[in-house]
């Protein structure tokens, strides 16, 4: 769809957009993450799956700067971002959708979207910031797409769970990050809403680099992208969904537990 087709500004590079090398994270001696190498190419969509406690959300935390790795290197867009502050990483173009939808309750849907616009973050400049007609059109077209256009003037505290998920995904879309970290976008959604989410992520694919964390195998199948399986903090397997589903290690560690439908 045209509203999402615009390419986020970037130079072309041989390097992958995001690379993690020898990254470890420990919580009180427990190794939550121990990744030898994990990388996602520019404009690719990667799905990360794994049983509970596999380190999927910790992976997002490391990339977005919420958690500092104990060792290893995180390179984003050819810059070493290991240990950088969360705001600095966000400013470099890493956008994140949290597992539980987090939007600003006291603001209307429109105001939430306006805060997500890729604009200045300064106090003084924002005193005089106005939403340009083109930006308003972009926001309205995204809101129409996710069926929130009728609710644009409503404070987001009054939205349903599904609508909040949508709003947060929409905020991510309007902020045009180079890398989107999407943590369980289908959690708590109806089947119909899940289908629409998959459709949207497929539209974003090819124009944005996206890492999706998901439990729902039907949803993963719909995305039809490369899959990385995490287990106990390690990369267990990578490849197409069919490939990893037939991988003996994955079957033992993950599917063997009866997680697969």
């Amino acid at each position: 769809m045209s509203i999402l087709a615009e390419h986020p500004g970037e130079g072309t590079s041989r390097l992958d957009l995001i690379q993690l090398t020898d990254v470890t994270v420990s919580f009180d001696g427990f190794k939550a993450l121990d990744i030898g190498y994990f990388a996602v190419d520019r404009n690719a969509l990667r799905v990360v799956i794994g049983p509970n406690g596999a380190g999927k959300t910790t992976l997002c935390d490391v990339i977005s700067g919420k958690t500092r790795p104990a060792s290893g290197r995180v390179v984003f867009d050819e810059v070493d971002i290991t240990g950088m502050a969360d705001t600095a990483i966000a400013a470099r173009g890493v956008g994140r959708k949290f597992q539980t939808p987090t939007v600003f309750d006291g603001l209307t849907v429109m105001e939430n979207m306006e805060l997500a616009l890729p604009r200045t973050r300064g106090v003084w400049r924002n005193l005089f910031a106005r939403t340009a007609p083109a930006e308003r059109e972009l926001i309205e077209s995204i809101l129409t797409r996710v069926r929130l256009i009728e609710s644009r003037a409503i404070e987001s505290r009054h939205l349903s769970h599904g609508q909040r998920q949508w709003l947060e995904i929409s905020m991510l879309m309007v902020s045009r990050p180079k890398l989107l970290l999407v943590d369980e976008p289908a959690a708590g959604l109806t089947d119909h809403e899940t289908a629409l989410t998959a459709e949207l992520l497929n539209e974003l694919k090819g124009h944005h680099t996206i890492i999706v964390i998901e439990h729902d195998m039907e949803f993963v199948r719909r995305l039809g992208s490369e899959v990385t399986v995490l287990c106990e903090g390690r990369v267990l397997s990578s490849g197409t969904l069919e490939h990893v589903q037939n991988d003996a290690k994955v079957i033992e560690a993950y599917l063997g537990r009866g997680k697969e439908r």
Partner: protein
């Protein structure tokens, strides 16, 4: 006219009606002899306190930081103005009388260096904003950068206030100790005891309240104001959107401090004395009660709360003496139980319910006619 429409019209005209009452009706009542100059002067002081409350509403109501040092900034602004007024009052060997009576040195003292800028009214006006602004900026920067939040923020702001109280109470600080600054005679050449001067100060205060409302209402509608609400709702989410909450928090905390100081500076010439008593724990809590009573995050609520609180305190403490504090305690409990959104919040909630009722009735009256048509 439907109730919802009536509610909307009242809501829209109320600020203008209040402005009319304070700028025209009350001075006319004084001119006509219906109220005396003391009453007008008292309302001038209440209005000065309302400016401080507007500042607290920005910090607490909009940004969600329960600051217990708003009275500190009020006091700092008051001291700046008080020093200026004391220097233009009676002097003993070039020293303001309130200062010379509390200094025990044999042979008197020299005027301390830091008093000297306050000789000029222009410098004083600048310092009223600069001194509390600088204190708030530095304190806020350290506190917010260290991610001091929630109840811990409330505690350290209260501790800061108590610390300054201890400092101001000491005679060696050359700020007149517990006696405070007094013996005010003139301001900009006008006699402070003259009724005309009192009317002038009253009107200046009303104008500053109006200016503060315009400023605050504009601010909360800008994108910066939206970010402040976002800080209140979910600060960590805001960081992942690339915003620096610390910058916004320091900024609004400093702005609120300046509003508090302006209130203090307007209060002092109308009150005639400034002492460290405004720094005791009660005063900062009272500022919070005012905003809660009127309604957090509404701007007008801060004014309504401040005026109502001071009016109740003044009238009830005359009748009930110290039993007034039981009423105050009951008031706080009643707000928490029955008016969590304060008076202005409850009024707006009423309007919302009236509009919803109208919408339901409209839907219901449409339904039967549709049935008939089919």
């Amino acid at each position: 006219m439907s109730l919802a429409l009536l509610h909307r019209n009242i809501s829209r005209s109320a600020p203008w009606a209040a402005l009319l009452v304070f700028t025209v009706v009350m001075p006319l009542m004084y001119a006509g002899g219906a109220i005396d100059i003391g009453t007008l002067n008292t309302w001038g002081k209440y209005l000065a306190i309302a400016i401080m409350a507007i500042g607290l509403d920005l910090v607490w109501g909009y940004t969600g930081m329960l600051s217990l040092c708003q009275a500190l900034f009020f006091t700092l602004g008051g001291y700046c103005m008080g020093m200026h007024l004391a220097m233009h009052g009676p002097l003993d060997d070039g020293i303001p009388r309130c200062l010379s009576v509390v200094s025990s040195e044999v042979g008197g003292i020299q005027l301390p260096l830091f008093w000297q800028p306050f000789a000029s009214l222009a410098a004083t006006v600048a310092l009223v904003a600069l001194v509390p602004g600088a204190v708030a900026f530095l304190f806020g920067w350290f506190a917010f950068r260290s991610r001091v939040r929630g109840v811990y923020f409330s505690i350290i702001t209260q501790a800061l206030t108590i610390a300054v109280w201890l400092v101001l109470c000491r005679n060696e600080m050359r700020l007149c100790g517990t006696n405070g600054l007094t013996n005010f005679v003139t301001i900009a050449g006008f006699d402070l005891r003259a009724p005309a001067t009192k009317v002038g100060l009253y009107l200046l205060t009303v104008a500053m309240v109006a200016a503060s409302v315009v400023l605050a209402q504009w601010l909360v509608r800008t994108r910066t104001g939206r970010v402040l609400i976002a800080v209140r709702d979910n600060e960590s989410r805001l960081r992942f959107a690339g915003y620096q909450p610390v910058a916004y928090k320091v900024w609004v905390f400093t702005l609120a401090a300046i509003l508090g100081a302006v209130g203090g500076a307007l209060y002092v010439p109308q009150n005639g004395i400034m002492t460290p008593e405004y720094l005791v724990a009660k005063e900062s809590v009272v500022a919070v009660v005012m905003v809660a009573l009127g309604g957090r995050g509404t701007i007008y609520g801060a004014i309504v709360g401040a005026l109502l609180y001071k009016y109740l305190e003044n009238t009830l403490s005359t009748v009930l003496a110290n039993n007034w504090y039981f009423v105050l305690g009951g008031l706080i409990v009643a707000i928490v139980l029955f008016l969590p959104d304060g008076l202005v919040g409850a009024w707006r909630g009423l309007g919302r319910r009236l509009r919803e009722r109208d919408a339901r009735q409209a839907a219901r009256s449409d339904a039967p006619s549709a049935a008939v048509a089919s």
